[in-house]
């Protein structure tokens, strides 16, 4: 009996990510959810710009590459053109929280019926580790060698908290993938985000706190611990909005 094998929605090619980068885990979780919901034939993914720019090589469903930050806008177009398709975007923090903030906020405000997977690793990974809008106060990066100075650069953007103030979005949750338990929770959240779309409920976003061992200058093991020690206190995990659950509570 097979206990665990590679999901069918994940292509059989080696991933280009650095050793220990948790992008691969999130790719696998998305593929597992696509398999379990049986939606591989009608899923369209939107790839971002960033480390995961080549996500279109890794998923066996149809994929579109969007301009930097514009994945939610492209997803809006695809979903409106053919509402029978399942449309998801897979974006990093430089893509979603910096260049594409406007697209993200407005797709959420319009409650577009799409699923957004948001990878937050507090740094610009692909370009070599520059400070991102999500870099923590005091975090040392290529462009903040003395640590992020909040008097000059401001404070990190908390996307889940920000979007939860809008009436629009259906479901917002922040998870991480730095332990087996956390990976299982993350899968539940991602599955719910896809199920919401199938049920026609609207904009669902899962923010995944992810590691970047190379640009943080750590071993993969230290990076997973850094998520626990530094990232989770600033970006608390949990469900930030779940409109259906709130309605049920009221009723």
């Amino acid at each position: 009996m097979t206990v665990f094998e590679k999901p069918k929605a994940l292509a059989d090619v080696p991933l280009h990510y650095c050793p220990g980068c948790t992008h691969g885990i999130v790719h696998r979780l998305v593929a597992e959810v696509i398999d379990e919901l049986g939606i591989e034939g009608k899923t369209i993914g939107i790839a971002p710009v960033g480390c995961s720019v080549m996500a279109y090589n890794y998923f066996n469903c149809d994929m579109i590459e969007a301009a930097h930050g514009r994945a939610p806008a492209v997803a809006t177009g695809v979903k409106r053109a053919d509402p029978s398709k399942v449309v998801f975007t897979y974006q990093g923090d430089g893509d979603l929280a910096s260049i594409g903030t406007a697209e993200t906020v407005h797709a959420a405000a319009r409650n577009e019926n799409i699923t957004v997977i948001f990878i937050n690793n507090a740094i610009y990974g692909m370009t070599g580790g520059q400070m991102a809008p999500t870099s923590l106060p005091g975090q040392v990066t290529q462009t903040s060698p003395y640590g992020r100075d909040v008097t000059q650069c401001g404070y990190p953007v908390k996307i889940c908290e920000m979007l939860s103030q809008l009436e629009g979005p259906e479901y917002l949750e922040r998870v991480t993938v730095n332990s087996v338990k956390a990976v299982r929770n993350a899968k539940k959240a991602i599955k719910k985000a896809f199920q919401n779309q199938l049920d026609g409920k609207g904009f669902s976003m899962v923010e995944v706190l992810s590691s970047c061992p190379t640009n943080w200058g750590m071993t993969p093991q230290q990076a997973l611990k850094w998520i626990d020690d530094k990232m989770i206190p600033y970006y608390p995990l949990g469900v930030y909005k779940d409109r259906s659950a709130q309605k049920e509570e009221k009723a």
């Binding site: 206990v3 220990g20 885990i25």
Partner: protein
């Protein structure tokens, strides 16, 4: 009995699976090098494996298949 299969040439030797294993089955093989130039993971004590699939859950490159 549990059986572990590795796609050794896709392994990047990050060691996340080694830490996740509750039975210390896996080690990074320091005396081997795969096609990518990394030290790959191998099962040093396969008889201890309980097929919990924790290693496969944490593997970023999805190289582990677990059967029992």
């Amino acid at each position: 009995m549990a059986k572990l299969t590795f796609k050794t040439d896709s392994c990047k030797g990050c060691g996340l699976c080694v830490d996740a294993c509750p039975k210390q089955v896996l080690v990074i093989a320091k005396d081997k090098i795969n096609k990518k130039g990394h030290h790959p993971v191998e099962a040093a004590r396969p008889e201890n494996c309980i097929a919990c699939a924790f290693c496969a859950t944490m593997c970023p490159d999805c190289i582990i298949t677990v059967e029992k």
